[in-house]
């Protein structure tokens, strides 16, 4: 399955995400989920970023939290709401919100 998953929290409430398999998986970081894009714990980036190469973080949510684009992991694409609509409507067949 071709699935785009919105991660809206930083705390790893991703038990389900860890179990789901998809032919193409996208992880879309929004709200507090954007911390996964930039924060390091004990020097390590979020393990979420290893799950797929299709990683996105919402620009508005990064900025609001004072996270500069330069602090975002290079694997993550920073997107606007407009970009996000294209990701949702064109790149993934199913969407899930965690």
């Amino acid at each position: 399955m071709n699935l785009g998953v919105f991660v809206s929290d930083y705390a790893l409430t991703t038990d389900t995400l860890a179990r789901i398999t998809a032919d193409k998986l996208g992880i879309i970081l929004v709200m507090n989920g954007v911390y996964h894009a930039a924060l390091k714990e004990n020097g390590k980036a979020s393990s979420l970023l290893d799950k797929t190469k299709n990683l996105y973080a919402l620009s508005e949510d990064l900025k609001t939290r004072g996270i500069a684009d330069s602090a975002v992991d290079s694997r993550v694409k920073v997107v606007t709401y407009s970009d996000l609509v294209d990701v949702m409507m064109n790149d993934f067949e199913k969407l899930a919100w965690l």
Partner: protein, 136 residues
């Protein structure tokens, strides 16, 4: 015939919040959606409980007596009465030490279907086959 398959994935336990209960009631609504669709159009949900979502779906819940609300057990029975396919993750029941015999059924009310305790792989399959996935 245009049938849309849906996977309702309940990950949250019952009672503190209402969205996990709303998953059940929205899934049950498949019985009446036809009034808003064309003649040959249908919606077929599978209601799946995973993770902490398997908590609070056991029988003998005195929710009405204590909280003054319909128990999840009643909602589960109603879902069986309308032939809704209900899947509960076996691995998660085992993880929390919940025996299958603690799950309700609606045989006494005339239901033809029962709750299916299945490996997560079956729930994954429900998600793969569904056109849309709704996480509760």
């Amino acid at each position: 015939m245009s049938d849309i398959k849906l996977a309702f994935i309940v990950q949250q336990p019952q009672y503190k919040g209402e969205t996990s209960r709303l998953a059940i009631t929205h899934a049950i609504a498949y019985q009446t959606v036809e009034i808003l669709l064309e003649d040959d159009e249908t919606v077929t949900p599978k209601l799946c409980f995973v993770g902490e979502g398997v908590l609070g779906i056991t029988k003998d819940q005195p929710a009405m007596e204590i909280y003054g609300i319909t128990s999840t057990e009643s909602h589960m029975k109603n879902s069986l009465l309308v032939d809704l396919e209900v899947l509960v993750c076996k691995e998660d029941l085992d993880k929390y030490g919940i025996p299958e015999s603690d799950l309700p059924d609606a045989e006494d009310m005339g239901a033809d279907v029962t709750i299916q305790v299945v490996p997560f792989a079956e729930i994954q399959k429900a998600m793969d086959e569904a056109k849309h996935v709704l996480m509760f």
